[in-house]
């Protein structure tokens, strides 16, 4: 249920997708090459040299997924509140404010409806840059509304996850979002509507242990870190070295936890194909 801050993920191999901004140039944390930023952007924010998938913002994700980059955003005005008056080394209020400023977004998720290769879908995407994509009340509410909207519109749901898990600063309220979103998906299932879950780097904790693992089809981007407990917590608990490739997309595929690994440049067409086949009876 832990969400990771960059500096916590930073010891070891787990921060490969943090981009180092060098103006017009970026450094790929995986192969170490310096890449012309425009080249990476043209390549779906994937390293042209080694194929490493950089993290993308929710807005970029939606514009590369929806037809013509057009979508209707919903619930854009919902903002987090500090219900517990939480203060660690910083006040939660201040964290919200500075994250909103840095990430230019109200909370860690954008939801919309639009079309993917002509198929209507209710789509949500996480923004990892907002407090590690952590799920608090706003994220839970927006996902639940996105699912309920799909039931009204009789269309599919697609969620792109990128999250360290539940947001600690909202305490038990964050935990309850797991139940809330999963209950909404139970209704989607009863309505016979498809849900495709896309796991991107990283998808952890309470997000994985709720809606992210409930897809009718679960798609992962290459080499994404996906799991319930963080690798450090597991290593400390079992006092052993973790297996090679542990909690990466490829490892999950091998263990039967995801349906397929799809490179970003193929993502839109893959989702479009899936929607075409899964939504046949509901058009």
């Amino acid at each position: 249920m832990i969400w990771f801050k960059k500096d916590i993920l930073a010891n070891g191999e787990d921060v490969k997708s943090v981009r180092v901004p060098l103006g017009l140039w970026i450094k790929c944390e995986d192969c170490g090459d310096i890449i012309y930023k425009k080249d990476a952007e043209k390549n779906f924010d994937v390293c042209p040299k080694c194929g490493h998938h950089f993290r993308v913002s929710a807005r970029v994700r939606l514009s590369m997924t929806m037809d013509d980059g057009v979508f209707k955003e919903h619930d854009a005005d919902i903002e987090p509140v500090d219900a517990l008056e939480f203060k660690d080394l910083k006040k939660y209020k201040d964290r919200i404010r500075s994250s909103q400023k840095d990430a230019d977004i109200k909370d860690a998720l954008i939801s919309c409806d639009g079309h993917i290769n002509g198929h209507r879908a209710s789509v949500a995407a996480f923004d990892f840059s907002f407090m590690g994509g952590s799920m608090g009340s706003v994220v839970g509410e927006k996902i639940t509304r996105a699912v309920e909207r799909a039931i009204r519109l009789k269309c599919a749901v697609i969620i792109f996850s990128a999250s360290g898990g539940a947001r600690m600063q909202e305490g038990i309220l964050s935990l309850m979002q797991m139940a809330k979103t999963s209950a909404a998906l139970a209704r989607l299932k009863s309505a016979g509507l498809p849900y495709i879950s896309v796991l991107t780097d990283p998808t952890m904790g309470g997000v994985t242990a709720s809606f992210a693992m409930l897809g009718d089809v679960i798609v992962a981007e290459p080499k994404a870190l996906i799991g319930f407990a963080g690798p450090r917590v597991i290593a400390e608990t079992i006092r052993q070295k973790l297996p090679e490739g542990f909690q990466r997309s490829e490892y999950l595929l091998e263990h039967g936890m995801v349906d397929m690994i799809v490179e970003r440049k193929m993502m839109k067409d893959t989702l479009g194909n899936l929607l075409a086949m899964l939504s046949r009876g509901k058009r």
């Binding site: 203060k87 038990i172 309220l173 797991m178 998906l185 009863s190 709720s210 693992m213 407990a229």
Partner: protein, 322 residues
């Protein structure tokens, strides 16, 4: 009223009892010779304990919730329900002793009861994995829940876990999927569901058997998104700040009632449930019977709709559009 495991903050009471033991043991007829003094000291101990427990901090309550002598799930099931028949295994991988459950009667009504199970001694603790289930534990729970639904038996769950087990095998066998699927299925079970937090409600591993029509909490139980130690280590970068984290996270019964997560608090004896378990069994039985009576009066569709709305409405945010 006494215990073999004194908590750190109970030390003043422990000291008085030590003095009582000394007096009683000072000669063969010690308890006779020092009778009056012992009586006085016992009064003093009782008074001290009452004073300490009247102002417990959230972190101290966490210690009580984790107390080694605290009644566990099977203690409650065996003392509250009749004719308990334990059922085992998830039919997929193995039987996980960190979750125990089966069928029994509550006040004559056949029900399914299950919960996290901790071990009492070292060997049992290890066998029960300290109450931290693997995916097969959650899948066993799911199997029992679905059995309950198929035979229209009300479901009672008991929450008492530090969390779902963070292990390699657990990840490989889909700890996340097991928890997630329980959340989804519990939300639509066509039977009354009552969850009671009896000790530690540790995160997703607790919630995985906690999506209920009513959530009851023992007075000194906790329910949290992360352990105070874990939270302190991440946010304060110092695990020793657990007391501050416990306070900040709002993990105690009255706070959870206020936040709409819990519905009822079951009072505990001063000093915690382990000092007078019989009283707690009796009070909890009364609470469970009353809750079931309430829920049984409702048509099942309405029950499921209310359960949905119950979780649907939890959360705090500011909606300018609304």
């Amino acid at each position: 009223m006494t215990t073999r495991h004194w908590l750190e903050f109970e030390k003043p009471v422990e000291d008085v009892y030590r003095k009582i033991d000394e007096l009683a043991g000072s000669s063969a007829d010690g308890s006779y010779r020092h009778g009056e003094e012992i009586q006085k000291l016992e009064k003093k101990a009782e008074h001290l304990l009452k004073e300490i427990y009247s102002k417990l901090t959230p972190w101290q309550i966490t210690m009580v919730a984790r107390h080694a002598e605290r009644p566990y799930t099977l203690d409650y099931i065996k003392n509250i329900f009749d004719g308990f028949i334990e059922l085992h295994g998830d039919r997929r991988f193995k039987d996980d002793p960190a979750i125990a459950g089966g069928i029994a009667r509550l006040d004559g009504i056949p029900v399914v009861a299950l919960g996290h199970q901790k071990g009492r001694n070292t060997k049992e603790k290890i066998r029960r994995n300290f109450g931290m289930p693997n995916p097969e534990g959650y899948r066993k729970a799911l199997r029992l829940m679905e059995l309950a639904e198929r035979f229209s038996m009300p479901l009672f769950t008991f929450i008492d876990t530090p969390g779902a087990y963070p292990g390699v095998g657990a990840e490989e066998r889909g700890q996340s999927e097991a928890i997630a699927y329980n959340l989804l299925r519990m939300s639509e079970l066509k039977i009354p569901v009552v969850a009671t937090v009896i000790g530690e409600g540790g995160s997703g591993g607790a919630l995985a058997i906690g999506v209920a029509d009513r959530v009851l909490m023992l007075e000194y139980s906790t329910y949290s998104v992360i352990s105070p130690e874990g939270c302190a280590a991440i946010l304060w970068k110092d695990g020793a700040k657990a007391d501050i984290a416990a306070k900040s996270l709002k993990i105690n019964a009255p706070e959870l009632l206020r936040l709409g997560v819990a519905n009822t608090i079951i009072k505990e004896p001063i000093g915690g449930a382990h000092r007078e378990p019989e009283t707690v069994y009796k009070d909890m039985k009364t609470a469970l019977v009353a809750t079931l009576k309430d829920l049984s009066a409702m048509p099942v569709d309405k029950l499921v709709e209310q359960r949905y709305q119950r979780f649907r409405s939890i959360g705090a945010f500011y909606d300018k559009g609304a």
